[in-house]
Symmetry: C2
Subunit: 417 residues, 2 copies
């Protein structure tokens, strides 16, 4: 019960802070972001020391090398966080913009004013840089934020939030604008998931287990992010050199991220030529797992089973399926995909257009790597996550996606007949 009271108090304080944040000018917000960036850099040593505690505890707890790497903060990474805040300061402020103002026949002027969502909850895992990214994005978009990072990063997160809050206070702004859930108890997540009075939206960012828990338990509106079982389909008319470049990039440039490709679909007319070239390119780097037809061309690779079509490997593994037709490719993608990023390599005009229309995903590509699904690459600056759901925001979520609208109506005494 004490934990619930504590979180409720944080929720209430966030609500109040949100009212003040909503009316801050871009000028103030940008100064605060710049000051936060300076603060992080000047506290570098303290941050690294706190992070060192997390790393030591993590090593003792037997975290994997990959997880420890995500957890680690060093000089370069702290500078990158600070740089991220400075870039946020340079982005246009979405709040207050009025769009689609129209004059109705009765003289009413009706427009949509962009306003903050209010209070954003973030639940994420071991990467402490998310703490500063999320705090910065929410602050710039006029939202209060309640952060619940992974328990492995608790010391790092505490000192990062402390630094940010110190700056808020120096500017006379409410500390509750950026709050960290200090308990690492799993129960805290359950409580947050039920706090619909205080949270306007909850954004989970992490593995499939976290996302699934949030979907099952949440009473708060949720934006699902980040699960990416992405496909590339090499069509009958594909330029095979281009296809190889794109598959290579989408698989190996950063296999641990959600926009990396996980399954390759190849038209049967191309398979006999393309698959041996792919095998040669990936030999010793990427494990291929194939359907029976793929293995009839590459008998040396492992067999893929049903679970491979569902898998988000996040690793140097690629499932390979030979399809008889364009339609079979689309059907496979719409069956097994997670509606994240899907690409076709083709030189057929009609197939390219059909692919765009018929594939149901946040980002659908013709002749480009799925790796571009990213706020920065899409020109919106930083992102708080990549939505794989259809409501409110789809694809990379930047500042604008952290706002909503309200209708503003200017009258001169109009009444309705």
């Amino acid at each position: 019960m004490r934990l619930r009271d504590e979180l409720t108090a944080q929720g209430k304080a966030a609500r109040e802070a949100a009212q003040i944040l909503a009316s801050l000018s871009a000028e103030i917000k940008n100064k605060v972001l710049a000051a936060m960036a300076d603060e992080l850099e000047s506290r570098k040593d303290l941050i690294i020391a706190a992070n060192r505690q997390d790393l030591t505890a993590g090593e003792q707890a037997g975290l994997s090398t990959a997880l420890l790497d995500r957890l680690e903060l060093n000089d370069r990474r702290i500078s990158a966080m600070a740089q991220g805040l400075r870039e946020l300061a340079a982005l246009p402020d979405p709040v207050g913009e009025i769009v689609e103002m129209q004059r109705r026949p009765n003289g009413l002027m009706i427009g949509k004013m962009r306003v903050p969502l209010g209070v954003v909850g973030m639940i994420y895992e071991a990467r402490p840089n998310v703490t500063i990214d999320a705090a910065g994005l929410c602050f710039k978009s006029g939202n209060a934020v309640i952060l619940r990072g992974g328990s492995e990063a608790i010391n790092s997160n505490k000192i990062l939030v402390q630094a940010a809050v110190g700056v808020l206070e120096r500017f006379g702004l409410p500390a509750a604008a950026i709050q960290l859930v200090s308990s690492t108890d799993r129960e805290a997540v359950s409580i947050l998931l039920g706090m619909h009075e205080y949270l306007d939206v909850l954004i989970p960012r992490g593995g499939a287990g976290l996302i699934q828990r949030v979907i099952n338990e949440a009473r708060v509106p949720v934006i699902q992010t980040g699960i990416g079982n992405c496909h590339i389909y090499v069509d009958q008319s594909a330029d095979l050199d281009m296809a190889l470049r794109i598959v290579d990039n989408a698989k190996t440039s950063r296999p641990g991220v959600c926009n990396a490709v996980e399954t390759l679909l190849v038209h049967r007319e191309q398979a006999a030529v393309f698959l041996p070239r792919l095998f040669a390119l990936f030999e010793g780097r990427v494990e291929l797992r194939g359907c029976p037809k793929a293995r009839s061309i590459l008998p040396q690779i492992k067999a893929a089973d049903e679970s491979d079509w569902h898998a988000e490997y996040l690793d140097y593994i690629l499932a390979v399926k030979v399809v008889d037709s364009f339609e079979e490719a689309i059907k496979h993608i719409n069956t097994y995909g997670t509606m994240h990023s899907e690409a076709i390599v083709t030189n057929d005009y009609s197939n390219s257009q059909r692919f765009l229309r018929e594939v149901d995903a946040a980002a659908v590509y013709i002749n480009a790597s799925t790796r571009f699904t990213d706020g920065n690459q899409f020109g919106m600056g930083a992102e708080i996550g990549i939505s794989t759901q259809k409501l409110h925001a789809r694809g990379p979520m930047g500042l604008k996606e952290l706002t909503t609208i309200k209708y503003v109506i200017y009258g001169q005494g109009q009444v309705r007949e």
Copy 2:
């Protein structure tokens, strides 16, 4: 279990139908809508006979006159439904539009294509006209719909859906595009609320009890609609004639709807003149319930208590509070309002702008009646509901709000560095 199987089968069929609907041309959709309109008119007698069964059962069950009135279909109302479908046919098709197409420095062309949500679930109460409105809006926006109307209207809803589905079949379209839940069991609602595999969004439309149940139980993304505890604030500088006209319109033109005013706030400097004029205007028509200050001016009115500030009367009752300042008015609205429609009557420029910015609601008015919050009045044609939440859609939801976007990316072989 049989009911769950039945609904799951409906969900699956809706998913499949949605794929076909998503790629229909506006031309076909508009022809189908026009044919549905004709079909309703030609089946008028059958529809009225089925509705008569519902009315008889409702009378026997002791439904209130107001409910029976909402339930009733007659010649005029059926024509209005048909007319609604014809108007939908005349509206632009939102599906397929590509907006914000940009050319990135690397040559990628990135835009947002408007696409249907997929499968929409509607849970509503006794008004059978919602069945046709919702079916038409979902069809035009390329969505399949599963309708769960109030049990009181089951015979009316069945024959209306039958008529619509007959037209779908005549055009060779899947009957599952428009489905009615045939069970009137309450359990059906619980099952729908958990069907996140098959429903992309659920829109409850009805009283506070229904909305609350949906918020508590839903595993499916929900758009809350329609609870309206709306306020009008008569500012110190208000034109009192205008204020009277606006309050009269907002309270009495249709008191049973969500955009009717429920609480009046009056600045203390205006109260002594305004309240007696209001009392005279409303005498015998609208019951006033006042705060102590209001009753010191109008001792003959009832006292308002805390529950009155929360009440959505939907009736000829108005709560009245005298406030000491503009700030107190804003605070009252943001405390008790349901974020639907809020209005100020003022001639003070600075207060008018602050009201727009500081009041947190779907629609915020200066010098106009709250009754305008309506899809038609806002120029978007028909509406499927009025969202009082912040995610995805806020305010009246028309065709565009029944769509989402996907990013479409045209490349020439780009890979990410």
